[in-house]
Homo-oligomer: 465 residues x 2
């Protein structure tokens, strides 16, 4: 092997961490390869964020038709082509994944197809797939293999009776009824999507609230909205004895000492993720793990020199934007482009309707930590833009330090929550205070004004409530 | 008159400046009255921002139906109830104006109806309307009378052949064809609204670009989009010899030495505003003016002691959010609640489709001022969220100081531009750099990610282009 066959970096995994890390290395003029066993873009582009948002667009558009009459638009009749909805979602994924492949070329990233194994530090072998048999010698390795959907032992995922989100994204027909197990972001989004199109949805969560990581008041507001939309919610409930049949799946809901038999056409498991480590490490390579995830330090270094890891594979919060950020930081650090930054503050979004987004601490967490805080709240009902749009549901809540007024957390439920949260993200990252936000002129009429009003409400200075 | 009849503040005008100033004084525990000659909320709530956004929501919703098929939703037949669209718009205005009246009560603001005259410093007389004949003695006066739509001499506005935006907001029927004179925000928004519902629209602008205050590249992009939508654009063109008839209005378009005769069902004048000063000042009260607008210093004081002015009446930029900010600052200053802040950085929004929003300097302005700057650009075509939404039109452009990377201006055209601009607004207000924005983790998949990418693009570090 000649010297010019030696890579500066081999990235294993082509998802939001892997492709971003590889492209960043390319930007830095490094010789880099990215090995992906399925398709560039990873879960996010192919089986996660992007295709779900595409489905949600169809569902929201369909739901918007109910409000058309109020807006002065009269519609005679509507029908849904479910196959077309799914096909558009797949086609958007294909287009975006193709975009990543284009970016690989543009940034001179060698894109290799197959399953990779680290045979030794500095050595990657492709053990399966199109490029099977290739050995890559490299100075650095970045592991970005991510996660896959958790399944249940002894329960086969057949894609019809039993699905994870992956199968659900390629459903051939819309089930008439479904039980969704797990009310995190994925379960909650699928619940909206299917219910909006007419499926009878039961959303089950083992913990006491849907969206367990979100603020209690936000989750309670979403729960009310979901019930109004016709979604059945079961919190504090486990699902046991799942029995798939030919045309339906039977199960038991267990809450405390009560058991109830339930039947539905399909069951969707959205009960978290497990790390993709299978076949990655040869016997010669032992990396320190933490609960199954690779341990990485503040420079994203693993316990073995020149092997880095970033993204979902180093553990929670399992968010695409965090993964991308980590990988870029890892690459900047390994090549001395800049000091790698740690992930501290990051937003979380759920694309349900109304949307939910947050950054920083919840009230519960601040109470647990004994941090004195103030609350500023503003309802969208008092926002001219929200009323003009016909979407007055929800509110903004901002939590700030009692003494200095620094933003400690922000929680939004309502229209465009997932876009609005960006302002609070930058406020927290740059340690801005309530006064900084209040002194900023927000455009009228926008939803973003409501953020300044929520901030002002902390000291009873909001104008519109 | 007993001492308790003496007001701490009388606010003249109940628009975004006036009502906000009055409510703020109420929050500070002051005895305050607000005199309004029409309805609380002023032009913004009743004849401007809010009712236009309501109309635009209907137009956008109608336009969205064309994309439904692509989203897998099949619609059999559609018709438009134009009267209902107008009625909803009026009803949203009524609701919001009622909200202001409620806030007056809550904040103990005396709400008086009529036309006010400052008879002397410390004395306001109501000369017309419901509360005609009342004299108010007051320590301070805040003038917030705003502006009204500019008309043309010798051209009667009849609300059918010839309209300003005020009449257009209460149109009885949609004209089959219209010439809109003036392509600022108002003209540009009405052009979208009417064209989307089927009117043949010609938008005429005397200057060389539509949205003359916006960045040239943004305006050119909007012009292309408008042409594609079927709107006829005439820039560098004057309208002369306007002749209203019984069923149409005739006029001439003049461009250089070319004259062209044009006929349309209606003509909408959106050629700016003029100050509302008529009858406001008695002979005893002389205020310094600047081009017809009241001169105010950094504390919003006029040339006469204890008479303040804020909002449109003190001159450009004639934006509701600037007016509100100024009035709150004026009141904070007059009662010593806090040092009044000057307006420096403010966003501007046009709710056309695609939306346009900006803050800070344009490239043209930076060139004129000889300020060295860098450009970072990111197209929504490369945003996963924009593609998933089916709205990949437009881009984000951020201008930053060559040496320190401080944000000098930001210009957005595309979906939710008017919400996204908030982040750049806070960045400019708090003197954040590109690095601060780039170091902030933006949620995926959102449109707001594109802002971080535009920033990164300045140094060729964007991942997705």
């Amino acid at each position: 092997m000649a010297d010019n066959d030696i890579y500066d970096l081999v990235v294993i995994g082509g998802g939001p961490a892997g492709y971003a890390g590889a492209i960043r290395a390319g930007q830095l003029g490094k010789k880099v390869a990215c090995v992906e066993m399925e398709r560039a873009g990873g879960t996010c582009l192919n089986w996660g964020c992007i295709p779900t948002k595409t489905l949600l667009k169809s569902a929201e558009s369909y739901a918007s038709l109910k409000k058309m009459d109020e807006l002065g638009i009269i519609i005679q009749g509507v029908s849904v082509d479910f196959a077309k909805i799914i096909a558009r979602s797949r086609s958007v994924s294909d287009r975006m994944a193709g975009g990543i492949e284009f970016l690989f070329k543009k940034n001179k990233v060698d894109y290799l197809r197959g399953k990779a194994m680290i045979s030794a530090p500095g050595m990657v072998e492709i053990t399966e797939g199109q490029d099977k048999g290739r050995f890559l010698k490299t100075k650095n390795i970045l592991i970005a293999t991510g996660t896959k959907m958790r399944r249940l032992p002894d329960l086969a995922v057949d894609g019809e009776r039993i699905m994870t989100s992956r199968e659900a994204l390629a459903m051939k027909k819309r089930p008439e009824s479904i039980v969704i197990v797990g009310a995190g972001a994925i379960g909650t989004e699928f619940a909206y999507f299917l219910n909006a199109l007419g499926t009878k949805v039961t959303l089950v969560e083992m913990l006491d609230q849907i969206l367990p990581v979100e603020d209690e008041e936000i989750a309670a507001t979403l729960a009310r909205a979901y019930k109004k939309q016709g979604i059945e919610l079961r919190t504090g409930t486990k699902v046991e004895n799942i029995q798939p049949g030919t045309s339906s799946v039977k199960m038991e809901f267990v809450k405390g000492d009560k058991r109830e038999s339930v039947e539905a056409e399909s069951l969707l498991l959205s009960i978290g993720v497990v790390p993709n480590l299978d076949g990655l490490l040869s016997r010669n390579v032992q990396l320190d793990l933490d609960r199954g995830y690779i341990k990485a330090n503040d420079r994203y270094e693993t316990s073995v020199k020149d092997i880095y890891a970033a993204g979902d594979i180093i553990g929670p919060p399992w968010l695409a934007h965090v993964a991308t950020f980590e990988a870029v930081q890892a690459v900047n650090g390994m090549f001395g482009a800049s000091e790698p930054r740690r992930v501290k503050i990051f937003p979380g979004c759920t694309y349900c309707v109304p949307q939910v987004a947050s950054v920083g601490a919840t009230e519960k967490k601040l109470k647990e930590q004994g941090i004195p805080y103030k609350v500023g709240k503003f309802p969208f009902m008092a926002s001219g833009k929200a009323v003009a749009m016909g979407e007055p549901e929800g509110f903004i809540k901002v939590l700030s330090g009692e003494k200095y007024g620094e933003v400690l957390g922000a929680h939004i439920i309502g229209a465009e929550a997932t876009e609005l949260i960006a302002e609070f993200g930058i406020a927290m990252r740059c340690e801005l205070t309530l006064d900084d936000i209040h002194a900023t002129i927000h455009a009228h009429p926008t939803l973003s004004e409501a953020m300044a009003e929520a901030v002002a409400a902390t000291h009873n200075e909001a104008i519109h409530i």
